[in-house]
């Protein structure tokens, strides 16, 4: 961004502000006038500001904040498909702790998060380090890595479902070509979550590559040059320069990827298209099971009770990361 030129008017303001030469009653009158001008000016400014933020504030209040609060209270009610409410106390929460399928969905979510977050970190950073090198056509390679991210997850899910079809799917044909056993990737309970995770990482790694690239660009080149003169190995430069100086970016990536993994931002669409939670509930993440309870079985109150447990987990993660970064400052030093 270029700096717009300073206007002469801007400078003349400075001059009137700095006028110290006037004395006596005139000075008092002037300062009163200025105070009044300041007061009406700032009140006008406040009113203007409130009007400017009004549309977004109301919208966020109704469509984000209120649902958020509702999700914490709706769990105490039984809500039917027509909007009738009945207070049921802790019944939904009681049911939750005895619902084997919900507990299983929590376990699937934990597995998903524990594999996805490190997977995205390593693949995103790895790709960023790779495409930072000076190689011919680097722009093309970067674009190709990023390309899956612009396609919708529904389409992504459909493509991979066809490619992963038993026996005759593209992937299984390729495996047979190199004499590896063909597998039922989406039909085997021990493989399906892995397949969803693979597709999620493939989809998102280009996005995190870009985030890491912009983080890497902030590290001064001189550090590497100095280290090279000292004869440091590539590994030493990575652990002693790159990783420590990349800390702000790393925190951002960990926060965003953890929150989006827990809340199933990508997983929901993929699971809906590819497995519908199966086989044997092995891909039914908590958000998916909650959605089914609400919109297939009309158990809105129960679904809200389960969702509120996720809200609490997300809040805990956010607060923990916030405290670890001292209020969102991603620089540790």
């Amino acid at each position: 961004m270029t700096d717009p030129p300073r206007t002469s008017l801007g400078n003349s303001v400075r001059n009137t502000d700095g006028s110290k030469g006037i004395r006596g009653p005139r000075r008092k009158a002037l300062s009163e006038r200025r105070a009044r001008a300041f007061w009406t000016h700032s009140r006008k400014e406040s009113i203007a500001a409130f009007l400017f933020i009004l549309p977004d504030s109301i919208g966020l209040l109704i469509f984000v904040a209120v649902p958020m609060l509702l999700s914490l209270s709706l769990g105490f009610f039984s809500v039917d498909g027509f909007g009738g409410y009945k207070f049921v106390g802790l019944a939904n929460y009681n049911r939750m702790f005895h619902d084997v399928l919900f507990l299983k969905s929590l376990w699937v979510t934990i597995l998903y998060v524990l594999i996805l977050v490190p997977g995205l970190y390593v693949s995103g950073l790895g790709l960023a380090l790779l495409v930072r090198q000076k190689i011919p056509f680097i722009g093309v390679w970067r674009s190709l890595f990023f390309m899956p991210y612009v396609v919708s997850l529904v389409v992504i899910g459909l493509i991979w479902q066809v490619m992963l079809i038993d026996r005759i799917g593209f992937i299984n044909q390729m495996l047979e070509l190199v004499h590896l056993p063909s597998r039922s990737w989406l039909g085997d309970p021990s493989l399906a979550l892995g397949a969803i995770l693979f597709v999620t990482i493939w989809f998102l790694m280009g996005y995190y590559m870009i985030i890491f690239l912009s983080g890497l660009q902030e590290i001064p080149r001189e550090y590497y040059e100095a280290a090279r003169i000292d004869g440091a190995s590539a590994w030493a430069m990575f652990t002693k320069i790159t990783l420590p100086l990349l800390q702000p970016t790393s925190f951002f990536v960990l926060l965003v990827s953890t929150v989006s993994a827990v809340s199933g931002s990508q997983a929901f669409d993929l699971v809906y298209v590819m497995t519908k939670g199966g086989p044997a509930n092995s891909t039914a993440l908590a958000v998916f099971y909650i959605y089914q309870q609400a919109f297939q079985f009309n158990n809105y109150g129960y679904a809200a009770a389960m969702a509120s447990s996720l809200v609490i987990v997300l809040m805990a993660i956010t607060i923990a990361l916030f405290m670890a970064t001292r209020g969102g400052r991603f620089h540790l030093t």
């Binding site: 500001a49 904040a65 999700s71 011919p136 899956p148 396609v151 459909l158």
Partner: protein, 276 residues
């Protein structure tokens, strides 16, 4: 470094080049596979060759003649376009106020808006649906559009941008007797054209691709957006992969076109989203 080392160095550069090229081509391969399948007759879908032996347009003509796919596409253009325009308008107003105007409670309000940054749709979808149903927005365009307008991400990015504009510009305009609205409209908006176009591409893409909310809020087929259409098309004709891939290609095409033409803007808006 010369002598034996330099040829070793060259070998490692070639290896680096080849591995990057192969890896990135493999990454994009499934998308190419989809395009090729869209042109294949049904008996060739599971033929592992990427080039169709008997390429056909029959899949596309089926999608457009046997299904109201044109309607779904127009719906999606209307919904995603409206959300993008209105959201950018509201977010730039709010971003400008948070960056450049002083008012009581500014930091607190901004912090509470920022706190909604991490609330994602799948987590609040049940109460949100109940609320939106109460407001009478099930199965109409209002329900598809209005709740999708509001997000903290856009406000945050635009505020960051307006913080970078020198304050003298506004002071000068105030001395000239300009109202805050005319400062926003005549000075700030024209200055923010680059970031607004970057965000417009990003918002349109996100909303074109959005699935969960349209799926939840519409049961009336006339209101379907493309993502809901292909997902339900898939559950009806689960074996007609050639049609499904053709429909998928049609749905993916606008996003890929946006990507090819506005890649720089897209990458820019992702980069700035990384908190520094």
């Amino acid at each position: 470094m010369r002598g034996p080392n330099s040829s070793e160095l060259r070998m490692s550069r070639i290896a680096l080049f080849l591995s990057t090229a192969v890896l990135s081509i493999l990454t994009a391969a499934p998308l190419v596979w989809m395009l090729s399948a869209a042109f294949k007759p049904p008996d060739e879908i599971f033929n592992s060759s990427l080039i169709p032996k008997h390429p056909t347009l029959e899949n596309f003509s089926y999608v457009f003649t046997q299904l109201p796919f044109t309607r779904y596409i127009l719906n999606t253009f209307f919904v995603a376009g409206t959300i993008t325009v209105v959201a950018l308008f509201f977010h730039s107003m709010a971003g400008y106020a948070f960056a450049r105007l002083k008012f009581p409670g500014r930091d607190l309000i901004f912090l509470s808006i920022f706190a909604t940054f991490l609330v994602s749709l799948p987590v609040i979808i049940v109460p949100l649906f109940i609320l939106v149903r109460r407001l009478g927005m099930v199965n109409n365009y209002a329900g598809l559009i209005i709740p999708a307008i509001f997000n903290a991400f856009g406000i945050f990015l635009l505020r960051q941008f307006y913080l970078g504009i020198p304050g003298e510009l506004q002071e000068a305009a105030i001395i000239d007797g300009a109202s805050y609205w005319s400062i926003y409209w005549n000075i700030m908006l024209p200055l923010s054209r680059p970031i607004l176009s970057a965000l417009a591409v990003f918002f349109f893409l996100v909303n074109w691709n959005s699935f969960l909310w349209p799926l939840t809020i519409t049961t009336n087929q006339d209101l379907w957006v493309v993502q809901v259409a292909i997902a339900s098309f898939h559950s009806q004709y689960s074996a007609a992969w050639n049609y499904i891939m053709a429909a998928s290609a049609v749905v993916a095409l606008p996003t890929l076109i946006l990507f090819f033409f506005f890649q720089r803007q897209l990458v820019e808006s992702i980069k700035t989203s990384g908190i520094k």
